[in-house]
């Protein structure tokens, strides 16, 4: 168990380090882009309407809603459930736990049920689309990992509950760079390892898409004034 613990902790820190290197590297690439292609600036006005549209784009996935309502239901639910489950898990990383996280626990638990269902729904929808079926291998991998993580999360809740005190001590230890003993639950180890696998594949669109979407909303507005100024 001791060796397993050391390996697991080393893997955790490596993944964590790799995650930040990846983010910083992406930032450097962005920073180094030469901007050789010049764009003539059109309008920089940001109206209240536009802010409302941007909010709808970012938080309600308005663009996806317009383009594909069936996928929107699945995708929006998935992202929301993902965020809520993450939020619910904060109780394992914080000491003391803020009351808002306690208040949100039932919602987080409900999101835990919704998460795998939304994944199956999205996957099924893609499979039944007859023409122009495009499924990226990376997306399949990410979806499968999240499915395994949420399935093992279920099992941890209903089948083989680990010692939550141990789990919390382990997580906080990792965060504080003073690792504790790894909890004695192979199911927890599986759940945790899957999260480690997921991190390097976590799509970077999570960070960049909002910026692109904001520009797109401004561009839509520009289209109305381009030939009318």
């Amino acid at each position: 168990m001791r060796t397993t613990g050391i390996i697991l902790i080393a893997a955790t820190y490596s993944v964590y380090l790799a995650f930040w290197i990846r983010i910083i590297w992406h930032f450097i690439i962005w920073y180094r882009a030469a901007n050789a292609f010049k764009v003539y600036p059109l309008s920089s006005k940001t109206s209240l309407d536009m802010l409302a549209l941007i909010a709808a784009d970012l938080f309600l996935f308005r663009r996806l809603f317009i383009s594909n309502k069936l996928l929107w239901i699945g995708s929006w639910t998935f992202h929301l459930a993902f965020v809520l489950v993450l939020f619910q898990h904060l109780r394992f990383f914080m000491d003391p736990v803020p009351s808002i996280i306690f208040v949100m626990q039932p919602i987080g638990r409900a999101a835990g049920y919704v998460l795998p269902v939304s994944l199956v729904y999205i996957f099924g929808l893609k499979m039944i689309r007859e023409r122009q079926r495009y499924v990226s291998r990376l997306n399949i991998l990410v979806m499968s990992l999240i499915f395994l993580i949420s399935a093992s999360g279920f099992a941890l809740k209903f089948v083989a509950r680990p010692d939550l005190v141990q789990v919390k001590a382990f997580m906080i230890g990792i965060l504080r760079f003073s690792p504790e003993v790894v909890p004695e639950s192979s199911l927890f180890l599986f759940h945790f390892l899957m999260v480690l696998f997921l991190l390097p594949y976590l799509p970077s669109h999570v960070f960049t898409a909002p910026f692109v979407t904001i520009e797109a909303t401004k561009r839509d507005e520009e289209l109305n004034i381009l030939l009318r100024d």
């Binding site: 992406h26 292609f37 594909n68 495009y134 910026f211 030939l227």
Partner: protein, 410 residues
């Protein structure tokens, strides 16, 4: 094996990109939503040329030159992948349907031409006869290698007065002037009926607007062409430049200021804006009826490109007796007729198949006429109808209007 590897290792793949475009390439979720709207996918079914695949390939290229592994160990770009990508990015019609329907909002209608430019810089593009365009334009002023002095003579209506100096100028464009006579003839007839004095440049001076070069990633001549045109219009005291070609209007309003170096000294308007205004003010009166069902096709660069969708419909609805039909996909969601992005010159089969989809839908909706408002659409859809089972009368919007206005000398 090393011969199979590119010799452009030193050149970075982010040299042509804006910072925003670097974000866009990163932001594609590979959801594949755009595929449902891509006309090239519809006719070819080739997933390897789809937007997410192009973006995935380009990410590989960036990783190969900018990635951490390259920095630590050095990494080559796969030449075969580069060639596949070049073909894919040039097979696209740049119709922008993928941008319009991308849930993230990636501006692919702009991204593809910039990625094409990168491939041109690497000596991999453009493809086929597209590569001859810069030399041909330099020599003749147009991409069709046609005599510059015959730019207007075959179609320009007799008796229409052209002013030396005027607030309004009309730019006919190369495709209209050499490949779609009825369209530009209609433009001039309608303008002359409105009665406001207008000017045009002499045929040898009205050179290419630069769009075919821009869209195929060959930007070297652009500044020269743009400055020549802008200065010539400025000398004529022009305040508003009218044009009917959506591609010309696009580059004029979006990119001419960049190549000119500052704000243009005149405004750009699409001809349908000017004509619908004239109809509203009573400066133009449609005298004849047209008891027919017509269907209007939104050109990609007019609707998604510059947001002109209402004015053509206002004009058509002003025609007494007319029934205006719509394609299932219209306005911002219109489906490319196959003429876009200079791809029609190389990927003929795709272009024909797309053109026929437009014809078939118009026929199935029992339209008497298919109304277009783009010279490239006009040329391509007419081409696609040759030898096709379904036939329909194809008319440009100004050609139709000129027919219905009293005093328009046909």
């Amino acid at each position: 094996m090393s011969k199979d590897r590119t010799t452009h290792k030193k050149r970075s793949f982010i040299e042509e990109l804006t910072k925003q475009q670097v974000l866009e390439i990163d932001a594609c979720t590979q959801c594949g939503e755009c595929l449902r709207h891509c006309p090239v996918q519809e006719v070819s079914g080739n997933l390897s040329i789809s937007p997410p695949e192009k973006i995935r390939m380009f990410r590989e290229f960036i990783r190969a030159t900018e990635g951490l592994k390259n920095w630590l160990f050095g990494r080559d770009v796969d030449q075969k992948l580069l060639e596949d990508f070049t073909r894919a990015v040039f097979e696209c019609t740049t119709c922008g349907s993928c941008s319009q329907n991308c849930p993230v909002g990636i501006y692919t209608q702009r991204l593809w031409p910039v990625l094409r430019k990168e491939m041109v810089k690497r000596g991999l593009g453009p493809l086929g006869q597209q590569a001859e365009m810069p030399a041909v334009i330099e020599k003749t002023g147009n991409p069709y290698n046609k005599p510059p002095d015959q730019r207007f003579s075959p179609w320009f209506p007799e008796g229409v007065a052209i002013s030396e100096q005027a607030d309004i100028a009309y730019y006919a464009g190369c495709t209209g002037s050499y490949e779609a006579y009825p369209m530009v003839r209609g433009d001039v007839l309608v303008l002359s009926s409105i009665g406001s004095p207008f000017t045009t440049l002499p045929p040898e001076e009205e050179v290419c607007c630069g769009f075919p070069l821009f869209i195929t990633g060959q930007h070297d001549l652009l500044e020269k062409l743009v400055k020549r045109l802008v200065n010539a219009y400025q000398e004529r005291g022009v305040k508003t430049l009218l044009c009917s070609c959506p591609c010309c209007v696009n580059i004029m309003v979006r990119d001419w200021p960049v190549f000119y170096g500052k704000k243009l000294p005149f405004s750009i308007r699409h001809i349908t804006q000017f004509v619908s205004d004239a109809l509203k003010k009573g400066a133009l009166v449609i005298t004849s009826e047209l008891n027919q069902r017509v269907i209007y096709h939104d050109p990609c660069y007019l609707s998604r490109g510059v947001g002109i969708m209402e004015e053509p419909r206002t004009i058509l609805n002003s025609i007494p007796g007319i029934t205006l039909l719509e394609f299932d996909r219209h306005g911002l969601d219109s489906r490319c007729c196959g003429a876009g992005g200079a791809a029609r010159k190389v990927f003929q089969e795709n272009a024909m198949a797309m053109g026929r989809l437009t014809i078939d839908e118009a026929v199935s909706k029992k339209a008497d006429k298919l109304i277009l408002s783009c010279p490239a659409c006009y040329e391509k859809v007419n081409d696609a109808m040759k030898g096709h089972d379904n036939q329909i009368q194809i008319v440009d919007i100004m050609e139709l209007l000129a027919d219905l206005i009293e005093g328009c000398n046909q």
